[in-house]
């Protein structure tokens, strides 16, 4: 617990006659101070990552004709709002965003809760058939979605859930990946003695889960929540089958955008931007929590 990370103390013992620049380049990553090379590379990587989003804004604020010019426009313009209006007119984007928030939110809450419960059970509880059950759970990851679409749709139809949100929520309320992810995290992050201390203090298994396991698992739960929310938000195949354009999620609604004889790319881009913003907001909120969680785990480890 008290060991020093290798290299953290090296800057103090560096001989004074060594030029700073060289020392930085030699172990820039370890000494905690980034050199100009690091900054340049990171800036480039950030620009490359941000460019598609920027292009969405640019393309979303022009017309098809303007986008076809050479060179293409590189700055956004006020036309963005016209295209927003067009997109909102062509598809129920407002409703789609609301639906997507409901669907992704429910899936995220369900997945995080059930995967943490199952992960805890697989990681720390002793019961007969644990290994076989875990293998079965992991085995489901190898079944492609396409294979289960038809039986799933038949079940949904039987339940008369077609075009209803629960048809999209229910099949993805728990994921094998999430169970495995939480199990792996809890095996290493949750010492058995902590659970035994809980039992000695008189806690029931449920109480131990709620008061000890969940707080310890929080960083992993945040990561899983983010991944699940993004996956659910971007899910296209199953919602397209289970829902209609009258009651769509964002991705289903976007599929119906700008679909004339010539696809209206500007309108599609504007709609895409509308559909992306909520995810960006969620990530901004959760991002800090995730980074904090990862740091906490690192220090403890």
């Amino acid at each position: 617990m008290t060991t020093t990370l290798p290299g953290t103390g090296t800057t103090e013992v560096r001989p004074v006659d060594v030029p700073r620049g060289r020392a930085r380049r030699g172990r820039g990553g370890r000494s905690g101070k980034a050199g100009p090379v690091t900054y340049t590379l990171l800036t480039l990587a950030a620009l490359v990552s941000v460019f598609p989003l920027y292009w969405t804004v640019v393309a979303g604020s022009h017309t098809n004709a303007e986008l076809a010019e050479t060179p293409p426009p590189f700055l956004p313009s006020a036309g963005l709002f016209d295209n927003f209006a067009a997109a909102l007119e062509q598809a129920p984007i407002g409703k789609a965003i609301l639906n997507s928030v409901l669907v992704s939110g429910a899936i995220t809450v369900g997945t995080v809760l059930f995967c943490t419960l199952a992960g805890f059970a697989f990681a720390k509880l002793q019961f007969r058939g644990r290994g076989v059950l875990l293998a079965l759970v992991i085995g489901t990851m190898m079944v492609p979605t396409q294979l289960s679409v038809i039986p799933l749709f038949m079940m949904i139809a039987e339940l008369q859930w077609v075009n209803q949100l629960q048809a999209v929520i229910l099949p993805t309320l728990v994921s094998a990946f999430g169970v495995f992810f939480m199990r792996q995290y809890l095996i290493s992050a949750l010492p058995n003695e902590l659970l035994e201390a809980g039992r000695m203090d008189g806690a029931s298994t449920f109480r131990i889960f709620w008061s000890i396991v969940v707080p310890v698992a929080r960083p992993a739960m945040a990561v899983l929540a983010m991944l699940t929310f993004l996956t659910a938000w971007n899910e296209f195949f199953w919602p397209l089958i289970a829902l209609t354009t009258a009651n769509p999620t964002v991705q289903v609604a976007l599929a119906g955008l700008g679909s004339g004889y010539v696809p209206q790319q500007a309108v599609i881009m504007a709609g895409t931007l509308l559909g992306t913003l909520p995810v960006l907001i969620v990530f901004t909120i959760l991002g800090k929590q995730i980074v904090g969680g990862i740091m906490q785990g690192a220090v403890k480890g």
Binding site: P191, E193, L194, E196, A197, G198, R199, M200, D201, G202, A203, R207, S211, I212, P215, V216, V299, K300
Partner: protein
């Protein structure tokens, strides 16, 4: 307050041929401080965990205060445990850690606060109640772990090597504090350690275990003075007792070229017709005598401790060339006139300090 009884308690793990704890019989008195000690894998921790309810009892029974708790879950046993790693809840403050059990038990908030404050005062933790375990030093964490046990005022304290994560100096300090605290609270305590010094200094009685079997359970002084078998003789005491096996001759046992006198009746009973006998004597029970008398020992190493000097040597003398027996002998001597390595010294065992054991059964003979 309560007595604790292990009645033929046994724990076997699946796929092992030997029980981890084999028919343990132990009676712990009300308010007693009992230490379970032994080398690693001897079953001491398993015994404690059986008492805690964290480990199943395969056969036999465990009683606390006369009540059979063999199949009760931990929460129904009214016991508190201090873990080796402390097992503090990382997301709770010191105050919440200490009050968690009371909160679960539905104790009123004001009462929890009072009892936590009381325990914090005893353990000198008042200034840290708002801190998380992460922000505490090792010694403070250890005290929080103690506090978590104290606030519950349980019938029995269980401690599983609570000092092994502290540095040497703090360990000695905390050792006396725990012993004093236990005397003050008067709560029956079962304490597990592998450190025989801890066992000797803290326990009212010490139970020595080996391979899941109870070797001896007695007061520290009695264990030291009258070890029941060769294992206890060698385990208790530092440096360890010298244990040598030799051929029985008239009036004693032959060690090298010399004969160590042993009372005739003990010799007869210990040898049991095998013609051999095992003797033991502690390093401090040896006297240097003029050359020619007693047992000769060739000094190999001299350890100067300031207050004492320890000679590590082999039985034999320069006349016989190579040492006749490979067993090392440790002798405590006066530090200022300690012999040099390579020298031969002649030793006599103080008569009352000689332990005799049966070489086959390893059991003590009086």
């Amino acid at each position: 307050m309560a007595t604790v009884t292990f009645d033929q308690a046994t724990r076997s793990y699946p796929k092992t041929d030997r029980p981890a704890v084999d028919a343990l019989d132990l009676q712990i008195d009300d308010g007693e401080f009992l230490v379970l000690v032994g080398p690693s894998g001897c079953g001491k921790s398993t015994s404690l965990r059986m008492l805690a309810g964290l480990e199943e009892v395969d056969s036999g029974a465990i009683r606390i205060g006369g009540r059979d708790v063999t199949d009760s879950p931990p929460k129904d046993r009214d016991i508190a445990m201090v873990f080796q790693s402390y097992a503090l809840y990382p997301h709770m403050t010191v105050e919440q850690n200490m009050g968690f059990a009371l909160r679960l038990a539905g104790v009123a908030k004001s009462e929890i606060a009072r009892r936590v404050a009381e325990a914090a005062a005893i353990l000198d933790l008042q200034d840290y109640l708002d801190r998380r375990p992460r922000a505490l030093s090792g010694g403070q964490r250890q005290r929080v772990a103690m506090g978590r046990a104290i606030v519950r005022s349980p019938q029995v304290f269980l401690m599983d090597e609570p000092l092994s994560n502290l540095d040497a100096k703090l360990r000695v300090q905390t050792r006396t504090q725990i012993a004093a605290l236990q005397r003050r609270l008067g709560t029956t305590t079962v304490y597990v350690t592998h450190d025989q010094v801890e066992a000797m200094t803290m326990g009212d009685r010490v139970a020595v275990l080996k391979d899941g079997l109870l070797m001896q359970c007695d007061t520290p002084a009695a264990l030291y003075e009258r070890p029941a078998n060769v294992f206890v003789a060698g385990f208790i005491g530092s440096p360890a007792m010298n244990v040598l096996t030799g051929e029985v001759v008239d009036g004693g046992v032959r060690l090298g070229t010399a004969v160590l006198p042993v009372p005739r009746d003990r010799l007869a009973r210990a040898s049991g017709g095998t013609g051999r006998v095992t003797v033991g004597f502690r390093p401090e029970c040896l006297e240097l005598v003029p050359p020619g008398e007693g047992v000769p020992v060739v000094v190999g190493v001299v350890e100067q401790l300031g207050s004492d000097a320890y000679l590590y040597g082999t039985v034999g003398d320069e006349r016989s060339g190579a040492p006749l027996q490979t067993s090392d002998v440790v002798v405590r001597t006066e530090p200022r006139h300690a012999p040099e390595p390579g020298q031969t010294v002649w030793l006599r065992v103080r008569e009352d300090a000689l332990h005799v054991f049966d070489p086959v059964s390893q059991v003590r003979v009086d």
